[in-house]
Protein backbone atom coordinates (compact mmCIF):
# COMPACT_ATOMS: atom_id res chain seq x y z
CA UNK A 1 0.00 0.00 0.00
CA UNK A 2 2.74 2.45 0.97
CA UNK A 3 5.97 2.45 -0.94
CA UNK A 4 9.23 2.26 0.96
CA UNK A 5 10.40 5.74 1.65
CA UNK A 6 13.44 6.80 3.58
CA UNK A 7 14.71 10.16 4.58
CA UNK A 8 18.19 10.66 3.21
CA UNK A 9 20.31 12.67 5.60
CA UNK A 10 22.40 14.38 2.95
CA UNK A 11 25.99 15.35 3.75
CA UNK A 12 25.09 18.90 2.71
CA UNK A 13 22.38 19.05 5.38
CA UNK A 14 24.77 17.60 7.93
CA UNK A 15 27.33 20.18 6.98
CA UNK A 16 24.82 22.97 7.46
CA UNK A 17 24.07 21.70 10.94
CA UNK A 18 27.78 21.49 11.77
CA UNK A 19 28.14 25.07 10.58
CA UNK A 20 25.18 26.02 12.79
CA UNK A 21 26.86 24.38 15.78
CA UNK A 22 30.19 26.01 14.96
CA UNK A 23 28.51 29.39 14.61
CA UNK A 24 26.80 28.83 17.94
CA UNK A 25 30.10 27.92 19.59
CA UNK A 26 31.75 30.96 18.05
CA UNK A 27 29.06 33.30 19.36
CA UNK A 28 29.17 31.51 22.69
CA UNK A 29 32.92 32.06 23.07
CA UNK A 30 32.58 35.75 22.18
CA UNK A 31 29.68 35.96 24.58
CA UNK A 32 31.69 34.42 27.39
CA UNK A 33 34.50 36.84 26.69
CA UNK A 34 32.14 39.81 26.75
CA UNK A 35 30.46 38.56 29.91
CA UNK A 36 33.82 38.24 31.66
CA UNK A 37 34.73 41.80 30.77
CA UNK A 38 31.43 43.39 31.70
CA UNK A 39 31.18 41.57 34.99
CA UNK A 40 32.02 44.67 37.00
CA UNK A 41 29.57 47.04 35.38
CA UNK A 42 26.59 44.97 36.29
CA UNK A 43 27.10 45.53 39.94
CA UNK A 44 24.86 48.59 40.21
CA UNK A 45 21.96 46.91 38.49
CA UNK A 46 22.31 43.91 40.68
CA UNK A 47 22.13 45.92 43.85
CA UNK A 48 19.04 47.72 42.63
CA UNK A 49 17.26 44.43 42.12
CA UNK A 50 18.34 43.16 45.49
CA UNK A 51 16.85 46.27 47.02
CA UNK A 52 13.55 45.56 45.29
CA UNK A 53 13.60 41.98 46.49
CA UNK A 54 14.42 43.09 50.02
CA UNK A 55 11.66 45.66 50.27
CA UNK A 56 9.22 43.13 48.97
CA UNK A 57 10.34 40.45 51.30
CA UNK A 58 10.38 42.75 54.28
CA UNK A 59 6.58 42.83 54.23
CA UNK A 60 6.17 39.08 54.28
CA UNK A 61 7.11 37.65 57.62
CA UNK A 62 7.28 33.92 56.90
CA UNK A 63 9.37 34.24 53.76
CA UNK A 64 11.58 36.96 55.12
CA UNK A 65 14.46 34.93 56.25
CA UNK A 66 14.89 32.74 53.23
CA UNK A 67 14.28 35.31 50.54
CA UNK A 68 16.60 37.83 52.06
CA UNK A 69 19.18 35.14 52.18
CA UNK A 70 18.52 34.18 48.57
CA UNK A 71 18.84 37.73 47.41
CA UNK A 72 22.16 38.09 49.13
CA UNK A 73 23.51 34.88 47.70
CA UNK A 74 26.92 36.09 46.70
CA UNK A 75 28.64 32.78 47.06
CA UNK A 76 29.14 30.47 44.12
CA UNK A 77 30.85 30.83 40.80
CA UNK A 78 31.68 33.97 38.88
CA UNK A 79 28.81 35.65 37.11
CA UNK A 80 29.89 34.65 33.61
CA UNK A 81 30.19 31.02 34.67
CA UNK A 82 26.78 31.17 36.31
CA UNK A 83 25.39 32.51 33.08
CA UNK A 84 26.80 29.54 31.19
CA UNK A 85 25.33 27.11 33.72
CA UNK A 86 21.95 28.75 33.65
CA UNK A 87 21.86 28.85 29.90
CA UNK A 88 22.91 25.20 29.63
CA UNK A 89 20.21 24.21 32.09
CA UNK A 90 17.58 26.25 30.29
CA UNK A 91 18.47 24.84 26.87
CA UNK A 92 18.50 21.30 28.16
CA UNK A 93 15.08 21.67 29.77
CA UNK A 94 13.74 23.28 26.61
CA UNK A 95 15.08 20.78 24.08
CA UNK A 96 14.61 17.84 26.41
CA UNK A 97 10.97 18.90 26.61
CA UNK A 98 10.63 18.86 22.85
CA UNK A 99 12.09 15.36 22.84
CA UNK A 100 9.65 14.03 25.39
CA UNK A 101 6.77 15.69 23.55
CA UNK A 102 7.68 13.57 20.53
CA UNK A 103 6.80 10.47 22.53
CA UNK A 104 3.80 12.16 24.12
CA UNK A 105 2.41 13.08 20.71
CA UNK A 106 2.59 9.46 19.54
CA UNK A 107 0.96 8.26 22.75
CA UNK A 108 -1.88 10.75 22.33
CA UNK A 109 -2.43 9.61 18.76
CA UNK A 110 -2.68 5.97 19.81
CA UNK A 111 -4.83 6.62 22.84
CA UNK A 112 -7.24 8.78 20.83
CA UNK A 113 -7.21 6.17 18.03
CA UNK A 114 -6.45 8.98 15.61
CA UNK A 115 -6.35 8.10 11.95
CA UNK A 116 -5.25 11.31 10.31
CA UNK A 117 -1.73 11.23 11.76
CA UNK A 118 -0.76 7.79 10.46
CA UNK A 119 1.78 9.01 7.86
CA UNK A 120 3.54 11.55 10.07
CA UNK A 121 4.04 9.49 13.22
CA UNK A 122 7.66 8.71 12.40
CA UNK A 123 8.66 12.34 12.86
CA UNK A 124 7.67 12.58 16.54
CA UNK A 125 9.24 9.16 16.98
CA UNK A 126 12.52 10.54 15.67
CA UNK A 127 12.17 13.59 17.90
CA UNK A 128 11.80 11.21 20.84
CA UNK A 129 15.36 10.03 20.22
CA UNK A 130 16.58 13.18 21.92
CA UNK A 131 15.29 11.86 25.27
CA UNK A 132 18.38 9.77 26.16
CA UNK A 133 20.73 12.61 25.16
CA UNK A 134 18.76 15.10 27.25
CA UNK A 135 18.63 12.65 30.16
CA UNK A 136 22.37 12.04 30.29
CA UNK A 137 23.09 15.74 29.85
CA UNK A 138 20.60 16.58 32.57
CA UNK A 139 22.09 14.28 35.20
CA UNK A 140 25.65 15.32 34.39
CA UNK A 141 24.74 18.99 34.25
CA UNK A 142 22.88 18.82 37.51
CA UNK A 143 25.95 17.86 39.46
CA UNK A 144 27.90 20.69 37.82
CA UNK A 145 25.36 23.46 38.20
CA UNK A 146 23.51 22.56 41.38
CA UNK A 147 25.35 24.93 43.70
CA UNK A 148 24.91 27.87 41.37
CA UNK A 149 21.34 27.42 40.25
CA UNK A 150 19.66 25.50 43.03
CA UNK A 151 19.78 27.52 46.18
CA UNK A 152 18.21 24.71 48.20
CA UNK A 153 21.24 22.45 47.72
CA UNK A 154 23.18 24.56 50.23
CA UNK A 155 23.55 22.28 53.27
CA UNK A 156 23.91 25.18 55.72
CA UNK A 157 20.24 26.07 55.19
CA UNK A 158 19.18 23.04 57.14
CA UNK A 159 21.36 23.46 60.21
CA UNK A 160 18.90 24.18 63.03
CA UNK A 161 19.91 27.32 64.89
CA UNK A 162 22.57 28.04 62.30
CA UNK A 163 23.13 31.42 60.74
CA UNK A 164 21.53 30.42 57.43
CA UNK A 165 18.81 28.18 58.84
CA UNK A 166 15.73 28.38 56.60
CA UNK A 167 12.54 27.12 58.15
CA UNK A 168 10.59 27.01 54.90
CA UNK A 169 13.22 25.02 53.05
CA UNK A 170 13.65 22.74 56.02
CA UNK A 171 9.97 21.96 55.65
CA UNK A 172 10.55 20.95 52.03
CA UNK A 173 13.77 19.09 52.81
CA UNK A 174 12.26 15.60 52.71
CA UNK A 175 10.99 16.17 49.19
CA UNK A 176 14.54 16.69 47.98
CA UNK A 177 16.75 14.80 50.40
CA UNK A 178 14.64 11.83 51.32
CA UNK A 179 13.19 10.62 54.60
CA UNK A 180 16.45 10.45 56.51
CA UNK A 181 17.49 13.55 58.31
CA UNK A 182 20.31 14.45 55.94
CA UNK A 183 20.98 17.42 53.77
CA UNK A 184 24.11 16.27 52.02
CA UNK A 185 22.84 14.44 48.96
CA UNK A 186 19.33 14.99 47.51
CA UNK A 187 18.67 11.34 46.91
CA UNK A 188 14.97 11.77 46.12
CA UNK A 189 15.63 14.51 43.63
CA UNK A 190 18.31 12.64 41.73
CA UNK A 191 16.33 9.40 41.86
CA UNK A 192 13.32 11.13 40.38
CA UNK A 193 15.43 12.58 37.60
CA UNK A 194 16.93 9.22 36.70
CA UNK A 195 13.60 7.45 37.08
CA UNK A 196 11.70 9.85 34.82
CA UNK A 197 14.24 9.78 32.04
CA UNK A 198 14.60 6.02 32.42
CA UNK A 199 10.85 5.51 32.18
CA UNK A 200 10.44 7.86 29.25
CA UNK A 201 13.28 6.21 27.36
CA UNK A 202 11.95 2.75 28.18
CA UNK A 203 8.52 3.65 26.81
CA UNK A 204 10.07 5.18 23.70
CA UNK A 205 11.96 1.96 22.96
CA UNK A 206 8.92 -0.15 23.75
CA UNK A 207 6.53 1.75 21.51
CA UNK A 208 9.14 2.05 18.78
CA UNK A 209 9.55 -1.72 18.77
CA UNK A 210 5.84 -2.17 18.15
CA UNK A 211 5.76 0.51 15.46
CA UNK A 212 8.65 -1.02 13.56
CA UNK A 213 7.37 -4.57 13.96
CA UNK A 214 4.15 -3.41 12.35
CA UNK A 215 6.07 -2.48 9.19
CA UNK A 216 7.17 -6.08 8.84
CA UNK A 217 4.26 -8.11 10.16
CA UNK A 218 1.22 -5.93 9.52
CA UNK A 219 -2.10 -6.70 11.13
CA UNK A 220 -3.79 -4.99 14.02
CA UNK A 221 -1.91 -6.69 16.84
CA UNK A 222 0.94 -4.22 17.01
CA UNK A 223 -1.35 -1.23 16.86
CA UNK A 224 -3.40 -2.58 19.76
CA UNK A 225 -0.28 -3.24 21.82
CA UNK A 226 1.01 0.24 21.05
CA UNK A 227 -2.27 1.70 22.22
CA UNK A 228 -1.98 -0.16 25.50
CA UNK A 229 1.60 1.06 25.96
CA UNK A 230 0.44 4.60 25.19
CA UNK A 231 -2.25 4.45 27.86
CA UNK A 232 0.32 3.39 30.48
CA UNK A 233 2.71 6.06 29.32
CA UNK A 234 0.11 8.82 29.47
CA UNK A 235 -0.71 7.83 33.01
CA UNK A 236 2.95 8.02 33.99
CA UNK A 237 3.57 11.18 32.01
CA UNK A 238 0.67 12.98 33.67
CA UNK A 239 2.46 12.69 36.99
CA UNK A 240 6.08 12.75 35.89
CA UNK A 241 5.78 15.86 33.70
CA UNK A 242 4.30 17.80 36.58
CA UNK A 243 6.84 16.60 39.14
CA UNK A 244 9.65 17.21 36.65
CA UNK A 245 8.47 20.80 36.28
CA UNK A 246 8.59 21.32 40.04
CA UNK A 247 11.97 19.68 40.36
CA UNK A 248 13.83 21.12 37.43
CA UNK A 249 12.28 24.53 37.05
CA UNK A 250 10.19 25.57 40.02
CA UNK A 251 12.76 24.53 42.64
CA UNK A 252 15.08 27.21 41.24
CA UNK A 253 12.88 29.61 43.20
CA UNK A 254 12.59 27.33 46.21
CA UNK A 255 10.43 29.56 48.38
CA UNK A 256 7.98 30.28 45.67
CA UNK A 257 5.35 27.87 44.48
CA UNK A 258 2.50 27.83 42.01
CA UNK A 259 -0.07 25.09 41.70
CA UNK A 260 -0.29 25.82 37.98
CA UNK A 261 3.38 25.24 37.38
CA UNK A 262 3.30 21.63 36.19
CA UNK A 263 0.67 22.52 33.64
CA UNK A 264 2.50 25.64 32.67
CA UNK A 265 5.73 23.86 31.82
CA UNK A 266 3.83 21.09 30.09
CA UNK A 267 1.84 23.57 27.98
CA UNK A 268 5.02 25.30 26.95
CA UNK A 269 6.73 22.02 26.04
CA UNK A 270 3.69 20.71 24.22
CA UNK A 271 3.13 23.67 21.94
CA UNK A 272 6.87 23.86 21.18
CA UNK A 273 6.89 20.16 20.35
CA UNK A 274 3.87 20.56 18.07
CA UNK A 275 5.52 23.48 16.30
CA UNK A 276 8.70 21.41 15.87
CA UNK A 277 6.79 18.45 14.42
CA UNK A 278 4.90 20.77 12.08
CA UNK A 279 8.06 22.50 10.97
CA UNK A 280 9.86 19.22 10.22
CA UNK A 281 6.84 17.88 8.30
CA UNK A 282 6.64 21.13 6.35
CA UNK A 283 10.32 21.00 5.44
CA UNK A 284 10.18 17.31 4.50
CA UNK A 285 7.22 18.02 2.24
CA UNK A 286 9.09 20.93 0.72
CA UNK A 287 12.02 18.60 0.01
CA UNK A 288 9.71 16.22 -1.86
CA UNK A 289 9.15 13.56 0.77
CA UNK A 290 5.82 12.25 2.02
CA UNK A 291 3.62 12.93 -0.98
CA UNK A 292 0.62 11.45 0.85
CA UNK A 293 0.68 14.24 3.41
CA UNK A 294 -1.76 16.74 1.98
CA UNK A 295 -3.01 20.16 2.95
CA UNK A 296 -5.55 18.42 5.15
CA UNK A 297 -2.85 16.94 7.39
CA UNK A 298 -1.05 20.28 7.41
CA UNK A 299 -4.32 21.88 8.44
CA UNK A 300 -4.62 19.52 11.41
CA UNK A 301 -1.08 20.31 12.53
CA UNK A 302 -1.77 24.02 12.13
CA UNK A 303 -4.89 23.67 14.27
CA UNK A 304 -2.80 21.96 16.94
CA UNK A 305 -0.27 24.80 17.02
CA UNK A 306 -3.04 27.42 17.02
CA UNK A 307 -5.12 25.73 19.70
CA UNK A 308 -2.27 25.03 22.07
CA UNK A 309 -0.84 28.50 21.71
CA UNK A 310 -4.14 29.63 23.16
CA UNK A 311 -4.02 26.87 25.75
CA UNK A 312 -0.59 28.02 26.86
CA UNK A 313 -1.88 31.60 27.14
CA UNK A 314 -4.78 30.38 29.22
CA UNK A 315 -2.45 28.64 31.65
CA UNK A 316 -0.06 31.60 31.65
CA UNK A 317 -2.87 33.96 32.49
CA UNK A 318 -4.38 31.70 35.15
CA UNK A 319 -1.06 31.62 36.93
CA UNK A 320 -0.43 35.32 36.53
CA UNK A 321 -3.86 36.56 37.49
CA UNK A 322 -4.29 34.56 40.67
CA UNK A 323 -0.95 35.79 41.94
CA UNK A 324 -1.64 39.34 40.82
CA UNK A 325 -5.04 39.41 42.47
CA UNK A 326 -4.15 37.72 45.73
CA UNK A 327 -1.11 39.98 45.99
CA UNK A 328 0.74 37.86 48.55
CA UNK A 329 4.34 39.08 48.78
CA UNK A 330 5.88 35.62 48.78
CA UNK A 331 4.09 34.90 45.50
CA UNK A 332 4.32 38.24 43.72
CA UNK A 333 8.09 38.34 44.17
CA UNK A 334 8.28 35.90 41.26
CA UNK A 335 6.57 38.28 38.87
CA UNK A 336 8.17 41.42 40.27
CA UNK A 337 11.53 39.89 39.45
CA UNK A 338 10.43 39.18 35.90
CA UNK A 339 8.36 42.27 35.12
CA UNK A 340 10.28 45.01 36.88
CA UNK A 341 13.97 44.14 36.71
CA UNK A 342 16.09 45.20 33.81
CA UNK A 343 17.12 42.22 31.69
CA UNK A 344 13.87 40.31 32.02
CA UNK A 345 11.15 42.88 31.67
CA UNK A 346 11.06 43.08 27.87
CA UNK A 347 11.24 39.29 27.60
CA UNK A 348 8.24 39.00 29.88
CA UNK A 349 6.10 41.08 27.54
CA UNK A 350 7.67 39.72 24.35
CA UNK A 351 6.77 36.26 25.64
CA UNK A 352 3.04 36.99 25.51
CA UNK A 353 3.36 38.76 22.19
CA UNK A 354 5.35 36.00 20.47
CA UNK A 355 3.45 33.09 21.95
CA UNK A 356 -0.07 34.41 21.95
CA UNK A 357 -0.71 37.51 19.86
CA UNK A 358 1.27 36.47 16.78
CA UNK A 359 0.16 32.83 16.48
CA UNK A 360 -3.41 33.77 17.39
CA UNK A 361 -3.73 36.39 14.68
CA UNK A 362 -1.56 34.75 12.03
CA UNK A 363 -3.12 31.29 12.27
CA UNK A 364 -6.72 32.35 12.80
CA UNK A 365 -8.06 31.77 9.33
CA UNK A 366 -8.50 28.37 7.76
CA UNK A 367 -6.34 29.31 4.80
CA UNK A 368 -3.41 30.25 7.01
CA UNK A 369 -3.44 26.86 8.72
CA UNK A 370 -3.43 25.12 5.35
CA UNK A 371 -0.51 27.12 3.96
CA UNK A 372 2.86 25.48 4.47
CA UNK A 373 4.52 28.85 3.91
CA UNK A 374 2.51 30.45 6.72
CA UNK A 375 3.32 27.61 9.11
CA UNK A 376 6.99 28.00 8.24
CA UNK A 377 6.71 31.54 9.56
CA UNK A 378 4.59 30.89 12.66
CA UNK A 379 6.27 27.71 13.94
CA UNK A 380 9.73 29.31 14.31
CA UNK A 381 8.08 32.24 16.10
CA UNK A 382 6.43 29.85 18.53
CA UNK A 383 9.64 27.87 19.08
CA UNK A 384 11.74 30.99 19.68
CA UNK A 385 8.99 32.48 21.82
CA UNK A 386 8.93 29.46 24.10
CA UNK A 387 12.70 29.43 24.29
CA UNK A 388 12.29 32.89 25.81
CA UNK A 389 9.51 31.53 27.97
CA UNK A 390 11.88 29.00 29.50
CA UNK A 391 14.55 31.66 29.74
CA UNK A 392 12.24 33.71 31.90
CA UNK A 393 11.24 30.74 34.01
CA UNK A 394 14.83 29.79 34.82
CA UNK A 395 17.23 32.71 34.56
CA UNK A 396 15.72 35.32 36.92
CA UNK A 397 15.58 32.76 39.72
CA UNK A 398 19.10 31.52 39.18
CA UNK A 399 20.88 34.75 38.27
CA UNK A 400 18.78 37.36 40.12
CA UNK A 401 19.76 40.75 38.72
CA UNK A 402 22.88 39.49 36.96
CA UNK A 403 21.20 37.70 34.12
CA UNK A 404 21.50 38.83 30.59
CA UNK A 405 20.61 37.80 27.12
CA UNK A 406 23.48 38.11 24.73
CA UNK A 407 25.71 36.18 22.41
CA UNK A 408 26.41 33.67 25.16
CA UNK A 409 22.77 32.60 25.46
CA UNK A 410 22.03 32.80 21.75
CA UNK A 411 25.18 30.86 20.92
CA UNK A 412 24.33 28.03 23.30
CA UNK A 413 20.80 27.96 21.95
CA UNK A 414 22.16 27.46 18.42
CA UNK A 415 24.53 24.72 19.60
CA UNK A 416 21.64 22.87 21.22
CA UNK A 417 19.38 23.39 18.19
CA UNK A 418 22.07 22.03 15.87
CA UNK A 419 22.79 19.02 18.05
CA UNK A 420 19.08 18.35 18.49
CA UNK A 421 18.48 18.38 14.73
CA UNK A 422 21.53 16.19 14.11
CA UNK A 423 20.24 13.52 16.50
CA UNK A 424 16.64 13.75 15.31
CA UNK A 425 17.35 13.74 11.58
CA UNK A 426 19.89 10.96 12.02
CA UNK A 427 17.27 8.89 13.84
CA UNK A 428 14.73 9.72 11.15
CA UNK A 429 17.04 8.59 8.36
CA UNK A 430 17.27 5.16 9.99
CA UNK A 431 13.50 4.65 10.12
CA UNK A 432 10.96 4.04 7.41
CA UNK A 433 9.75 7.56 6.84
CA UNK A 434 6.14 6.39 6.64
CA UNK A 435 4.58 3.47 8.48
CA UNK A 436 3.99 0.65 6.01
CA UNK A 437 1.18 -1.38 7.51
CA UNK A 438 -0.53 1.12 9.74
CA UNK A 439 -4.17 0.00 10.10
CA UNK A 440 -5.40 3.58 9.76
CA UNK A 441 -3.30 4.45 6.73
CA UNK A 442 -6.17 4.24 4.27
CA UNK A 443 -8.26 6.51 6.46
CA UNK A 444 -5.43 8.99 6.60
CA UNK A 445 -4.86 8.93 2.85
CA UNK A 446 -8.52 9.89 2.38
CA UNK A 447 -8.36 12.46 5.15
CA UNK A 448 -10.36 15.45 4.11
CA UNK A 449 -11.44 18.40 6.19
Amino acid sequence: MIADEKYIFKPATKQKLYILIALGLFLFVIGVFLAQRSGHHEGAEKHASIEIAKTLVASSEPAKHGEAHAAEAHHGSAIWLKRIYTSLWQNNIFFGGIGIIGLFFIAIQYAAQAGWSAPIKRIPLAIGHWIPVAGILMVVLWFVVKGDIFHWTDASLYVKGGEHYDKILDGKRAYFFGPFNTSSFPIFYVLRMVLFFGLWYYFLIWIKKEMLAEDINGGEKHWLTARKISAYFLLIFAVSSSVAAWDWVMSIDPHWFSTMFGWYVFASWWVTGLATITLIVAHLKGAGYMKMVTQNHIHDLGKFVFAFSIFWTYIWFCQFMLIYYANLPEETVYFIQRMRTAPYSWIFYANVFLNFVLPFLLLMTRDAKRQVSMLKVVCPIVIIGHWFDFYNMITPGAMKGNGGIGLLEIGLGLVFAGAFLLVVLNALSKLQLVAKNHPFMQESLNHHI
Binding site: F317, F320, M321, Y324, Y325, N327, M364, R366, H448
Partner: protein, 174 residues
Amino acid sequence: MESNKNFVVGIFDDEDILLHAVEHTREKGLKIHEVYSPFPVHGLDDALGYKRSRLPIAAFMFGLTGTSLALLMQIWMLGYDWPMIIGGKNHASLPPFIPVTFEMTVLLAAFGMVGTFFIASDMKPYKWPRQFDLRSTDDKHVMAVDLAANKMSKEEISALLKAQGASEVNEKNF
Protein backbone atom coordinates in the same frame (compact mmCIF):
# COMPACT_ATOMS: atom_id res chain seq x y z
CA MET B 1 -43.47 35.12 -1.50
CA GLU B 2 -41.82 32.28 -3.35
CA SER B 3 -45.05 30.58 -4.28
CA ASN B 4 -46.02 28.67 -7.40
CA LYS B 5 -42.61 27.28 -7.91
CA ASN B 6 -42.31 23.97 -9.60
CA PHE B 7 -39.67 21.53 -8.60
CA VAL B 8 -38.52 18.19 -9.86
CA VAL B 9 -37.57 16.03 -6.93
CA GLY B 10 -35.25 13.08 -7.34
CA ILE B 11 -35.10 10.44 -4.63
CA PHE B 12 -31.86 8.53 -4.12
CA ASP B 13 -31.33 5.45 -1.97
CA ASP B 14 -27.57 5.55 -1.68
CA GLU B 15 -25.20 8.38 -0.92
CA ASP B 16 -22.56 7.23 -3.40
CA ILE B 17 -25.09 7.23 -6.22
CA LEU B 18 -26.28 10.63 -5.06
CA LEU B 19 -22.77 12.03 -5.01
CA HIS B 20 -22.04 10.84 -8.53
CA ALA B 21 -25.46 12.00 -9.72
CA VAL B 22 -24.77 15.47 -8.35
CA GLU B 23 -21.40 15.59 -10.07
CA HIS B 24 -22.67 14.33 -13.42
CA THR B 25 -25.86 16.39 -13.59
CA ARG B 26 -23.96 19.54 -12.73
CA GLU B 27 -21.52 18.72 -15.52
CA LYS B 28 -24.47 18.51 -17.87
CA GLY B 29 -25.50 22.03 -16.86
CA LEU B 30 -28.28 21.21 -14.42
CA LYS B 31 -28.71 23.77 -11.66
CA ILE B 32 -29.59 22.00 -8.44
CA HIS B 33 -31.73 23.90 -5.97
CA GLU B 34 -30.75 21.90 -2.89
CA VAL B 35 -29.97 18.39 -1.69
CA TYR B 36 -31.42 17.01 1.55
CA SER B 37 -29.98 13.97 3.24
CA PRO B 38 -30.63 12.25 6.55
CA PHE B 39 -26.95 12.34 7.48
CA PRO B 40 -23.93 14.37 6.40
CA VAL B 41 -22.59 13.12 3.08
CA HIS B 42 -18.86 13.66 2.86
CA GLY B 43 -17.82 15.70 -0.15
CA LEU B 44 -21.35 16.80 -1.03
CA ASP B 45 -20.55 20.48 -0.46
CA ASP B 46 -17.71 20.30 -2.92
CA ALA B 47 -19.78 18.35 -5.45
CA LEU B 48 -22.53 20.96 -5.24
CA GLY B 49 -19.94 23.68 -5.76
CA TYR B 50 -20.84 25.54 -2.60
CA LYS B 51 -18.53 28.37 -1.74
CA ARG B 52 -17.04 28.41 1.71
CA SER B 53 -19.22 30.06 4.30
CA ARG B 54 -18.27 33.56 5.36
CA LEU B 55 -19.69 32.91 8.80
CA PRO B 56 -16.21 32.92 10.44
CA ILE B 57 -15.73 36.54 9.34
CA ALA B 58 -19.01 37.49 11.00
CA ALA B 59 -17.93 35.55 14.10
CA PHE B 60 -14.66 37.47 14.25
CA MET B 61 -16.47 40.81 13.96
CA PHE B 62 -18.95 39.89 16.67
CA GLY B 63 -16.11 38.65 18.86
CA LEU B 64 -14.25 41.90 18.39
CA THR B 65 -17.41 43.78 19.32
CA GLY B 66 -17.67 41.72 22.49
CA THR B 67 -14.05 42.38 23.39
CA SER B 68 -14.35 46.13 23.02
CA LEU B 69 -17.77 46.38 24.65
CA ALA B 70 -16.61 44.39 27.67
CA LEU B 71 -13.47 46.46 28.09
CA LEU B 72 -15.31 49.74 27.66
CA MET B 73 -18.01 48.67 30.10
CA GLN B 74 -15.58 47.68 32.82
CA ILE B 75 -13.25 50.62 32.38
CA TRP B 76 -16.17 53.02 32.43
CA MET B 77 -17.92 51.38 35.39
CA LEU B 78 -14.92 50.78 37.63
CA GLY B 79 -12.72 53.56 36.38
CA TYR B 80 -15.08 56.50 35.96
CA ASP B 81 -18.66 55.97 36.94
CA TRP B 82 -18.14 54.36 40.33
CA PRO B 83 -14.44 54.04 41.12
CA MET B 84 -13.74 51.49 43.79
CA ILE B 85 -10.54 50.25 45.28
CA ILE B 86 -10.51 46.48 45.22
CA GLY B 87 -7.55 44.67 46.69
CA GLY B 88 -5.43 47.81 46.46
CA LYS B 89 -5.45 47.71 42.66
CA ASN B 90 -5.85 50.67 40.35
CA HIS B 91 -9.41 51.60 39.48
CA ALA B 92 -9.06 50.46 35.92
CA SER B 93 -6.50 47.68 35.91
CA LEU B 94 -6.42 45.30 33.02
CA PRO B 95 -5.81 41.77 34.38
CA PRO B 96 -9.05 41.38 36.38
CA PHE B 97 -11.00 42.53 33.34
CA ILE B 98 -9.66 39.79 31.11
CA PRO B 99 -12.00 36.95 32.25
CA VAL B 100 -15.10 39.08 31.74
CA THR B 101 -13.74 40.29 28.42
CA PHE B 102 -13.10 36.73 27.35
CA GLU B 103 -16.62 35.66 28.30
CA MET B 104 -18.21 38.60 26.51
CA THR B 105 -16.15 37.87 23.41
CA VAL B 106 -17.29 34.27 23.37
CA LEU B 107 -20.89 35.19 24.16
CA LEU B 108 -21.24 37.80 21.44
CA ALA B 109 -19.36 35.68 18.91
CA ALA B 110 -21.67 32.75 19.61
CA PHE B 111 -24.91 34.73 19.63
CA GLY B 112 -23.82 36.73 16.62
CA MET B 113 -22.98 33.58 14.72
CA VAL B 114 -26.30 31.93 15.48
CA GLY B 115 -28.19 35.09 14.56
CA THR B 116 -26.23 35.56 11.37
CA PHE B 117 -26.82 31.95 10.46
CA PHE B 118 -30.58 32.27 10.99
CA ILE B 119 -30.76 35.42 8.91
CA ALA B 120 -28.50 34.13 6.16
CA SER B 121 -30.46 30.90 5.82
CA ASP B 122 -33.80 32.73 6.06
CA MET B 123 -35.01 30.96 9.18
CA LYS B 124 -37.46 33.00 11.19
CA PRO B 125 -40.47 32.43 13.41
CA TYR B 126 -43.63 31.21 11.63
CA LYS B 127 -41.65 30.33 8.58
CA TRP B 128 -42.03 26.66 7.76
CA PRO B 129 -39.31 25.06 5.71
CA ARG B 130 -40.39 23.53 2.46
CA GLN B 131 -40.53 19.78 2.67
CA PHE B 132 -39.66 18.31 -0.67
CA ASP B 133 -40.01 14.81 0.65
CA LEU B 134 -40.40 13.82 4.27
CA ARG B 135 -38.33 10.70 3.75
CA SER B 136 -35.24 12.89 3.65
CA THR B 137 -35.43 12.80 7.45
CA ASP B 138 -35.45 9.02 7.41
CA ASP B 139 -33.57 7.03 4.81
CA LYS B 140 -33.69 8.81 1.45
CA HIS B 141 -31.56 11.46 -0.17
CA VAL B 142 -33.59 14.11 -1.91
CA MET B 143 -32.39 16.28 -4.75
CA ALA B 144 -34.59 19.25 -5.61
CA VAL B 145 -34.29 20.94 -9.00
CA ASP B 146 -35.95 24.28 -9.59
CA LEU B 147 -37.64 24.33 -13.01
CA ALA B 148 -37.53 28.10 -13.24
CA ALA B 149 -33.77 28.12 -12.85
CA ASN B 150 -33.15 25.55 -15.57
CA LYS B 151 -33.52 25.70 -19.32
CA MET B 152 -34.29 22.01 -19.59
CA SER B 153 -37.86 20.81 -19.62
CA LYS B 154 -39.49 18.82 -16.87
CA GLU B 155 -39.26 15.61 -18.88
CA GLU B 156 -35.62 16.07 -19.75
CA ILE B 157 -34.70 16.61 -16.11
CA SER B 158 -36.71 13.58 -15.00
CA ALA B 159 -34.98 11.42 -17.57
CA LEU B 160 -31.59 12.77 -16.54
CA LEU B 161 -32.17 12.04 -12.86
CA LYS B 162 -33.49 8.55 -13.63
CA ALA B 163 -30.43 7.87 -15.76
CA GLN B 164 -28.23 8.92 -12.88
CA GLY B 165 -29.75 6.36 -10.57
CA ALA B 166 -32.69 8.11 -8.89
CA SER B 167 -35.04 5.50 -7.53
CA GLU B 168 -38.03 7.73 -8.20
CA VAL B 169 -38.64 11.21 -9.58
CA ASN B 170 -41.57 13.31 -8.34
CA GLU B 171 -42.88 16.79 -8.85
CA LYS B 172 -43.58 19.25 -6.15
CA ASN B 173 -45.40 22.55 -6.26
CA PHE B 174 -45.29 25.18 -3.57
